[in-house]
Symmetry: D3
Subunit: 238 residues, 6 copies
């Protein structure tokens, strides 16, 4: 059975800018990659869509959904939406229940989500907390006890927010995404309304890459930064 990875984000853009490299890289390595996108970012992250004449909540959501599906396809991932609403993120017990099911069904090797603090966007830590809760509750034998499953809480990584220092984000991992950079950049192009961010996140990738090289002594061109939420159990240090 193939390995898998899960990505839980508040809005569509997040998985593209922040984790697109990890998604494409692991998909390429044969992982089943799944994105759980909690909202369409329809209220707070769709400025351009709202400037179109006749825009309605439904039309904006439909547009963002199509973009997110296209980006996920480029990256090689499945995507599931929760339509929780954004600004503020409106998650419910039913959504938590569904997320727990996904953890059990997928039994991922790792889960990626937002930084635990973000004073610019409260949907982000809310989504991260949601991911953490689902990850833990999926272990509870008394939750849907009749279910037949194997599950072990996976490693959890937090991807990079827009202004990392303001979010207490300190990289523990610099992931080499050079070999999938072209793919990540293609996914950027599925989000034409945020074209000003393409170059921004290309610069982030190049600078994280150079930092990766500095830390390892081996060159890295494009990188993605992650915080690791739990200690690693290792059989050897390096």
């Amino acid at each position: 059975m193939s390995k898998s990875g899960l990505v839980i984000t508040a809005h569509p853009g997040d998985f593209v800018w922040r984790a697109g490299g990890a998604i494409a890289l692991h998909a390429k390595r044969g992982y089943r990659m799944k994105i759980l996108c909690m909202s369409y970012g329809e209220r707070g992250e769709s400025q351009f869509a709202w400037k179109e004449k006749g825009a309605t909540l439904e039309s904006v959501k439909a547009g963002r959904k199509a973009e997110a599906e296209a980006a996920a396809a480029v990256l090689g991932a499945e995507i599931e939406f929760m339509d929780a609403g954004d600004y503020p993120l409106g998650n419910t017990p039913e959504m938590l229940d569904r997320a727990i099911d996904i953890f059990r069904e997928l039994n991922p090797s790792f889960v990626l989500s937002h930084a635990l603090k973000d004073p610019y966007n409260f949907d982000h830590p809310e989504a991260a907390h949601f991911a953490q809760q689902a990850r833990v509750i999926a272990q509870a034998m008394g939750h849907k006890p009749q279910a037949d499953y194997t599950y072990s809480a996976p490693a959890m990584f937090l991807f990079e927010p827009h202004q990392p220092e303001q979010c207490d984000f300190k990289p523990d991992v610099l992931l080499n995404i050079s070999e999938v950079w072209e793919t990540k950049f293609k996914a950027f192009q599925c989000l034409p309304a945020q074209k000003h961010l393409w170059a921004y996140y290309e610069r982030v990738a190049l600078n994280r890459g150079m930092q990766g090289g500095r830390n390892s002594g081996k060159p890295m061109v494009h990188g993605e930064a992650y915080m690791r939420l739990f200690p690693q159990a290792l059989e050897e240090l390096v």
Copy 2:
């Protein structure tokens, strides 16, 4: 050429209690393991030796040196002493110069040292700072520029202090040392004067092991905890 690891400690006991498992484990895996022991712990960590009649600084140092050599041999490591003096640790520019040489000669895959803070023992952070400085200066092309060497600053791990929380020690790595536990415990026995610590550090190993199992979902009996000082550059997340 075999891989290698370097351990820099203030006193002899430190490499036994705190890093004995990592030393034995990597030695067993074929690493060349080297311990740089900055002092003999002759003033501050030799209470029992001083209680012997006729004890002198020289006799205490000789006794501690013999114990440390025996423990290093059990663990499968080379050991070099600096005789820097302890309480307080008396490192000099010449010692720093020697440590830089060792970094370049050994070109280790990793270096282990003390936590950066320890309000119970100022020799410990002093040794860690010394290790950090040598690790960095060894990169400076203008330091002994005629030398012919290949060197890349290695990963650095901090081993567990006696009272971890008071030293801001938060484990990033739980290393499975189960397969070398017997060896580590034999090294304990080279330090008969500190017999009261044998059981203490066996309990630490068992509890860190259980924590390792909790974090990975795979059983671990004996563990050693480490902080990682720099971000990891990775080609895959898990």
Copy 3:
């Protein structure tokens, strides 16, 4: 059009003790100053009122409302109440919606609120979080999209809690309120039941003033301390 400032507090006393100087100062400079007071502090901050014979929730609320209105008038500010209830603070989605409207209507240059942590009073961080959320959501183009408004999220400052160190409060700004100290002290006098705090907060003002002078080299008699929540964008450093 004149500039404006917004103050969001959990209880009436808070805007007097903690931000009364800033309110009076900016009012004097021509700012439209508005206080959004989430509760009357009727349950948890009205000990004296409850000691009066025949006190009821309604009578206590009415008394506190009158005091708060008097204090706001002295300071030169408008005041709006939410009657959210206190201990615990009972904010609702409707209140958040109203606060978002206020941000858009006022388009303030700055917003003042509580410290993000307060182990003595959970209404305080709750109010600060409410203020932060409203500040951000007011930017969301999809929130009430037909509205015609100009809004840019303002600078946010946290005022000083009663026991600053226990609340992780570290001043970034020492505001010179000397020229409005008389006014602030008059506002104190609108709160006769808390007379024991008049002298306490006068001492706070005098000591913050002396600290202000130490940091700038220019004398300051009365000061108010603030934390700044976001980086400043500057055209010149000083």
Copy 4:
């Protein structure tokens, strides 16, 4: 009137492993000790019970309740359950109201609860926050104002979580529980399904004891670690 202490935990095991020594010690000294146990840990902390054939939520809860009552009796404490549900903890306004009443009825000298952060178990910080809120609101004169009571918010101590460093747990107090260790260990035996934790928490007690001795210069065999949440008001430093 005798002094009293209150313990608020999310699940039954918590008061045994983490605070059993303090409970037994103060009970022995004549304190009225009361445990408020918010859930039965029926979903997330009852793996063994769920492996029994025919287990239902009700049977698991009943089993855990009986164990908790037995352990409380061994320790010399009263116990009250809230049946709030676990994973996630489902506290309600009514439960908060009951907890406030308990604070006022008991007027405890101290309250013990969980660490404020625990990324492995979100029920724990939720219970701690619940305890903090009840502790503060019980002071509010306008909460049930007709009540006749004397209440002063007690000292609050946080007991040790399973992986202390990951929970930002740093001991302020090492309580000598040597004289009640036998009792605490008997309470362990009321929890047969978690036998693997008996030895774990015995090791914790022995190592905290040795640390206690190191910090005071006076031997301590078994210890329990606590964080103190508020400053102490003292009449003399030692």
Copy 5:
């Protein structure tokens, strides 16, 4: 044999403003109180003395010494000077050796010193580090091993710096100094050149006193704030 307390400060004023209450209080309770004053504050804390015509380093030092001796006498303490020089503090190995001797001779129940960080005055953390080192090395059996002494490293408290939040100072202890306030204020009067600080530190004492009352529920008029550097070993929680 009577109990004792040791106070290690960088400059004369420090023990008066920051620890004068604790000194007077414990002296009154029969403790032998000793102040180790590392410099006379002659360069950096004697602005007024330097404004006098004909001032020389020696005359300024003599003046400050006389003031410090007078203040110590008022507080009921012995005082010893090191003449280490200030701005920067010039401590030597010989001074450390002397301080170690003092720790062993006095065997104090507690030691008071500066906060570990102070960006306004680097002599302060330097003195605190010096105190910490001497406290630890005094335990080392191999330091002057022939000496006949009983010594156990005492509890260590950090007194309040001028701008506490900027120094990461968070009070753990609020000491009730009401009964010796008059004495502390008399000691202020031994420092006529710093008259502007008399009122400042009276306000600090009154506000720390009110905070003490808030935390304990028992009134406190004048208080002094301290951080506790090591965990307490306790036989009972309150």
Copy 6:
């Protein structure tokens, strides 16, 4: 008399990459800008120079000096060298004395230096500490008391290190350097051996610029990030 600013760096490159915008901007506004460059970076920051045939310490230093002078001239600043040696930085009491004189002579409105922590380069925090000490000691009336000067300790800003998060660097200020970007980039070109960093720091400037715009609501193209070390004394909040 014109205003002035002081920049204290460990090595030549630092003032170019990290503070070149602030230097050029304030020079353009009429400030007298002075750089105090503690070493030539001859051992640790001159890899390319050492690869040249026949390189000696003197030739490397001369080359770096010429580059630094050229860059300072482009930026519009004076430059003074200390030749303290690098890796490790070898500052002496005489150098501190000279730096104190500079603070008094220049009486700058602000001083710029390194972050207080940098695990990649210990010369950086050493230089920052040196700058802090000189800034404070320059206030001491007893330091060279006959001197005739006016001095008030200036605002201090820390510029951005190479890997900001690893250095606990959190921006408080985003300085708009768009109008001098061309000048800053010309200064880059004075450092031909580090051409790989030109693009890196251009990306940093563009991303900090975009962040500046996000925080203020006003567009910023190129930015430089700074931490502010002391609270601001303000007459108005915005």
